[in-house]
């Protein structure tokens, strides 16, 4: 059965995922049995009782109470088993333990923003220590999104105006993909995130210095990575085409007309200010909907983004 489980289901990231998969395979077995039973009966009857010439039916029996009771009661018992088992696992999935690492999740049109208890913020990615339960307290700022991590088998809608919570106990180190599962507009399919499960020391190291992969990376390359992972790509294009925000193409070093009519030279300070206080200077014919990245980006990451924008000629 494991080969079928590996085909049907993604890798298991948590103990709950294993529990869920056992339940899942139980229903697969049940479904396969009943489907094969029905198909076998249909094929056999069609072949065995095919009409030869103008032959009448062999019997006109119209009901058999015992048989009808059997094929009502047995399915009822089976579905009640499925209900009870499903309810038991559901309570495990949705009742968080007390001592969990609590992370605030805010979903907004097309990016995930996370905030750790110590105030550190990240966008579209989180690092969690292995073996310690994590509890996500989620809310949305605009429409309904849904926090879905297939390898943890967990999903819950992120509803505006309301807090919903979700928890998981990571047990497999590595990278797990986060999807948005509730349709939320143009960027619904781009609203992906990453959950990195690290060992205890790697997690502490990450908390101080940030991702070691990015520390050694040249600034412009890191900027390109951040352009994607921090969600800049959903509003700023690189090819000059207009989206919610102005395109980066050919911006650096040129005059920019602002909404209040004045024009300003797009130098490093302007780019930095636009990242950290976007409402200060808004390009004309655009709305001031860009969120501030103050506290969301380390100093090195801001420099990297500036270098990246500089390269977009």
């Amino acid at each position: 059965m494991n080969w079928l489980k590996s085909i049907l289901l993604p890798a298991q990231g948590t103990a709950y995922a294993a529990e869920h998969d056992t339940f899942f395979m139980f229903i697969v077995a049940l479904t396969a049995f009943f489907f094969l039973l029905i198909t076998a009966l249909v094929v056999f009857f069609v072949w065995r009782y095919r009409r030869r010439g103008d032959s009448p039916a062999e019997s006109q029996v119209t009901h058999n109470t015992r048989l009808e009771i059997v094929w009502s009661v047995i399915p009822l018992i089976l579905v009640m088993i499925i209900f009870a088992w499903g309810f038991h696992d559901y309570m495990n999935a949705y009742t968080a333990p007390g001592d969990a690492l609590e992370i605030q999740v805010t979903a907004k049109q097309w990016i995930w923003q996370f905030e750790y208890p110590d105030g550190m913020r990240t966008v579209n990615e989180i690092h969690v220590p292995i073996g310690r339960p994590v509890r996500l307290v989620m809310s949305s700022e605009d429409v309904i999104h849904s926090f879905f991590v297939p390898s943890f088998r967990i999903k819950k809608d992120v509803v505006p105006g309301m807090y919903t919570d979700l928890w998981f106990l990571p047990e497999a180190e590595g990278e797990h993909t986060l999807f948005c599962a509730e349709y939320c507009g143009r960027g619904h399919s781009d609203m992906l995130g990453k959950i990195y499960v690290d060992s205890e020391e790697k997690f502490r190291e990450w908390q101080e210095l940030g991702d070691e992969r990015t520390r050694t990376m040249p600034l412009a390359e890191l900027g390109a990575l951040l352009y994607e992972s921090r969600g800049c790509s959903t509003c700023h294009s690189l090819d000059g085409s207009r989206r919610d925000g102005p395109s980066f193409k050919g911006v650096f070093g040129h005059e920019v007309k602002l909404s209040d009519g004045t024009t300003v030279l797009a130098d490093e300070n302007y780019i930095r200010e636009s990242i950290l206080e976007p409402q200060a200077k808004i390009v004309s014919s655009f709305e001031g909907i860009m969120p501030t990245f103050q506290g969301l980006l380390r100093e090195r990451e801001v420099k990297a983004l500036i270098e990246f924008v500089k390269e977009q000629q």
Binding site: H20, T31, I38, V42, A57, E68, K155
Partner: protein
């Protein structure tokens, strides 16, 4: 053979004595102002098939776009409009009116031995309101389309700048068309049965349509008020669904699914009703467990109102409500299972003739079995957490709606085609098309189960590369399915060019509609039939009862 007290004088095949309903009146006005349930059924049929074509085009475009991750032929905004319009057109304009309004309108009075439905004018009003709703739908499509998904979830639907209000109004208008059909059929079945036809002597198609009419009458008004509230929210910001104003988006989901889950039973019950007609006729055997199937239909109709919360297990709904809804959802699975087993038992020891309608009935049994059984995954709380809003759900409801209702609709169309248009279709082409449809359907939707379990969310314009092979497989399947459906349309239309060559009873059916000519005369029966036997009594007919008892 229903024992018709005074047998109408024998008619030579193909030469109906009195003029049939198609030739009774001529000209365009005789169609658009007709009160004849048969003509209204035919008008509904062509309109519904046109909408099926339109919805199918949207489906093919969606599948074409998903051939490769990222942009294949359209942008994200266009894709969002395509899958929304595919959903809205297929559900509101095709599958809800399809069987009850076209085949149901045509066949129900014939089966009951009545001259017409209870309220012919209301029947015509229902058709024209459907057309008005369809026009508003097309207007919404042309003025920028809708990108909210056919479910119109707030707050996205209240803040989307696309023409959501027009499409909402179209669905609101279509609701009335559905209510009028439901009201009409309830009154017809209660009061217009032929003398001697007690409730348990009515064919099972009548029971299925009766259960559907109950749901149409009881559920559609809540859709009406939901759409009115949505329009009020968009235009006046009344604040019931908008969280910024104290409203509750999850409350909209309650309002919406209270209609939309019973609506899926409006779709499947007529499909089951047709299968309950086809299998006894082509097994030349009395139906097994008539009362079980009749009671199941009505039981499904009422339990279907208790289960809507299984669409909202992960929506932030309270755990208590989710548990109660999950329990009730499993209760509604039992009557469907009972029906499938009863159909199988009907085929046991029958004399099965694999004509086209029976082919589609067999396909229905297998595909609906998969559709129903995969519902177990989505009804159970724990597995629904993983599978909700993934392609598993897409595959599940396409197996039930296309594999179930559409296949049954095509089967019913073949079964009553000779009765409706007086011509036989080409059996050879019907078999080819059936095989193509079966292969195409499975190739399209079986991979989507695996896509779903592996975690591919639905309504995704751009997806990860690991899902690409299965999507490509599914897209190719959609081409085969499309081809099969076009072939069906082809040979059915071709059959209309032939002269009347269908005998009154081409399949040896035992229900009343086979006792009148094909196509039937304007007021259905020469003499009011008096029913004395069971609806599916295939036992050799006893000596004819003395005339005029």
């Amino acid at each position: 053979m229903a024992d018709v007290a005074s047998t109408s004088h024998p008619m030579a095949a193909g030469e109906p004595a009195a003029t049939n309903y198609l030739k009774a009146e001529r000209g365009f006005k005789s169609w658009i102002f007709t009160l004849d349930h048969k003509r209204i059924g035919v008008m509904y049929l062509w309109s519904v098939l046109l909408m099926f074509l339109l919805g199918g085009i949207f489906a093919m475009l969606v599948r074409l776009e998903l051939l490769t991750p990222g942009k294949t032929i359209m942008e994200a905004d266009t894709y969002n409009r395509m899958f929304t319009l595919h959903g809205a057109v297929m559900i509101f304009l095709f599958i809800i009116p399809a069987i009850p309004a076209s085949l149901g309108n045509f066949v129900l009075p014939l089966m009951l031995g009545a001259k017409d439905v209870a309220f012919p004018r209301l029947n015509l009003a229902s058709y024209w309101i459907y057309v008005i709703g369809a026009v508003f739908g097309v207007v919404a499509m042309v003025t920028g389309g809708v990108d909210t998904g056919w479910t119109f979830y707030t707050p996205y639907s209240t803040t989307s700048s696309t023409s959501v209000t027009t499409m909402t109004f179209a669905a609101f208008v279509l609701g009335f068309s559905s209510i009028f059909t439901g009201v009409n059929f309830i009154a017809t079945i209660h009061r217009l049965r032929a003398p001697g036809m007690t409730w348990f002597k009515t064919p099972l198609f009548v029971w299925g349509i009766y259960a559907t009419a109950i749901i149409q009458v009881l559920a559609t008004p809540i859709l009406g008020i939901t759409l009115v509230l949505l329009m009020m929210e968009r235009v006046f910001s009344v604040g019931i669904f908008d969280p910024r104003l104290g409203g509750d988006p999850v409350l909209f989901q309650h309002f919406f699914w209270f209609y939309s889950h019973p609506a899926v039973y409006i779709m499947i019950l007529p499909g089951m009703a047709i299968i309950s007609e086809i299998i006894p006729t082509f097994s030349r055997k009395n139906i097994f467990g008539y009362r079980a199937i009749a009671y199941s239909s009505v039981a499904i109709a009422f339990i279907s109102f208790l289960v809507w919360g299984h669409h909202m297990f992960v929506s932030g709904q309270s755990e208590l409500a989710s548990a109660v809804f999950s329990f009730l959802t499993f209760l509604v699975a039992i009557p469907s299972g009972v029906k499938v087993f009863n159909w199988l038992a009907t085929m046991y020891k029958g004399s099965i003739d694999l004509k086209a309608p029976m082919l589609y009935a067999i396909m229905f049994l297998m595909l609906f079995a998969i559709g129903g059984l995969t519902g177990l995954f989505l009804g159970a709380l724990a597995t629904d957490i993983h599978l909700h809003d993934t392609y598993f759900v897409v595959a599940h409801f396409h197996f039930v709606m296309v594999g179930g209702t559409v296949i049954a609709f095509i089967g019913g169309l073949h079964y009553w085609w000779p009765k409706m248009f007086g011509r036989m279709y080409s059996e050879k082409w019907a078999r080819i098309a059936a095989v193509l449809i079966f292969i195409g359907f499975n190739v399209t939707f079986l991979p989507q189960f695996v896509l779903g379990t592996r975690g591919m969310p639905r309504r995704y314009y751009n997806y990860l590369d690991q899902f690409q092979p299965l999507h490509a497989f599914s897209t190719v399947g959609s081409w085969i399915l499309g081809l099969g459906l076009f072939i069906v349309l082809g040979y059915l239309l071709a059959s209309l060019r032939k002269r009347y060559d269908a005998p009154p009873n081409p399949w040896g059916g035992t229900t009343l509609e086979w006792t009148t000519s094909s196509p039937p005369i304007a007021h259905n029966f020469e003499h009011v039939p008096v029913v004395t036997r069971e609806p599916y009594d295939h036992s050799p007919a006893p000596a004819p009862a003395p005339a005029g008892d």
